[in-house]
Symmetry: C2
Subunit: 278 residues, 2 copies
């Protein structure tokens, strides 16, 4: 399978993995964002993933991937996952799929890449917080209108991610050598059950280690920390306890989407680098 | 979305539709053939589907699609579905996605297309019956070794399908203007719930109308007819009765795979021709 196909398959295996508490999975839907929106998003994203594999710039490839992903009625299914997959695909087809090469790839991004990232926000509503007053001209909700400010400040996409990293776990992967992505890939690689079960295990491991930034943004840091603690207790729990926690989080509308994004990226690494085959 | 992407999405929506009694679906796996094998098969098939969309010959495109689909550990996930999708994709990108143009596409197949079809059997084990003694040299299990016999007899792929049509519901679609495919597409198009629910509904409708030929081959015509009767009763039944029937068929190992193949093809028509968007 080609690199871009592995990325597409990673998106599918991520949503198939169950239980993934608080996320859409094989057994759970949200009211408006359902399983089939993730299937459709994964199919739609393929041109952008192929572009990244062919060496097109990260920002432009991401914009294409998000435009394709958005061709369904559920809204934002895989924005964050694509923000990780696009540079990883690019790294895999150029220098190699290692933390070092992934870092080199994101550090080499340009102001044009940042412009592509901002354009991607025009295709889909993404949950974001109010920017601080001094960064209002860089509010991602402005989409392409923010591009002149990017150019004035000479901000690359890496710079933009660096600004977001303290509050955004996906951006933090860009600036920390994709540390959690590569660690979680080992869980997917080393498990011995069906691949979607190993994907769900990787998700629980991620959730147990650090608070999810999407939960923190939407519900505050105390909720994010309590979810982390529950996940830590579930690491060695029976499956039905995990299922109950998954149902509970979906009911409460608590969505650790950042960890799902990292799980998709980790699954890609397991498929592409480690030769995992479902 | 491009035509080949619609075909890929149709494969994904088919397996996501639940309950689809006797088949792998969002809630059910077989012991060896699991949900993730269908996800992987759909991703792997994309090069063959793209080839068909680009106007490559039907037999060669099918061979490529099956080779790609087989890159997973579950075995035959979507052989029959691809045998319907490849000519439909070809029709859609050349003359149009109508019963007439689909028929014209399959009637125009050649001996080389038949050779591609036989080669496809080398990638994956497909359940087939013993051929009659006079057709032993055309046994599909011979794979490419049967190609000289095809050439001697000057059999096109359409001719091969015509020979199989009496016992094989997928082949019968080739020779009957894709009648059931286009009828089932209306069920997918006209429903008002989530698309996978409409896909599952189309499956039940198909199963209720005619006995499934895969069930007939594996368990005899009486079982196939009894499954048809049960499906007919379930058309207006509550969901939990359908779920119970689905569990029962999986437990009994009764797999109406032909209707699942036609359901995937019907879903493609609904996406590509009718503009259905999940």
């Amino acid at each position: 399978m080609r690199t871009a196909q592995h990325a597409q398959l990673a998106l599918l295996l991520e949503v198939a993995g169950t239980p993934k508490p608080g996320n859409v999975d094989r057994r759970r839907d949200f009211d408006d964002l359902r399983f089939e929106h993730f299937l459709t998003g994964a199919v739609g994203a393929c041109d952008g993933l192929e572009a990244a594999a062919a060496g097109e710039p990260v920002g432009e490839s991401f914009d294409t991937a998000v435009a394709g992903m958005s061709q369904q009625r559920g809204g934002n299914a895989q924005f964050g996952a694509l923000l990780l997959l696009v540079p990883l695909v690019r790294a895999a087809t150029t220098w190699g799929l290692t933390p070092e090469e992934a870092s080199a790839t994101v550090e080499a991004t340009t102001v044009d890449d940042a412009a592509g990232f901002y354009r991607a926000f025009e295709h889909v509503d993404v949950f974001v917080e109010e920017p601080p007053p001094e960064a209002e001209d860089l509010d991602v909700r402005r989409g392409a209108d923010a591009i002149p400010a990017l150019r004035d400040r000479e901000l690359t996409l890496y710079d933009v991610m660096e600004l977001s990293a303290p509050e955004d776990g996906v951006a933090a992967e860009w600036t920390n050598d994709f540390r959690r992505t590569f660690a979680a890939a080992e869980t997917v690689r080393d498990g011995d059950g069906p691949v979607p079960d190993r994907v769900a295990e990787a998700f629980i491991e991620l959730l147990a280690r650090e608070p999810d930034t999407m939960v923190a943004k939407q519900h505050g840091p105390a909720v994010a920390e309590s979810v982390r603690e529950r996940a830590a207790m579930l690491r060695h729990a029976a499956r039905d306890e995990r299922e109950a926690f998954a149902d509970e989080l979906v009911e409460r509308g608590v969505n650790p989407g950042t960890m799902a994004d990292i799980t998709a990226a980790a699954t890609f690494v397991a498929l592409e680098r480690d030769g995992v085959v479902p």
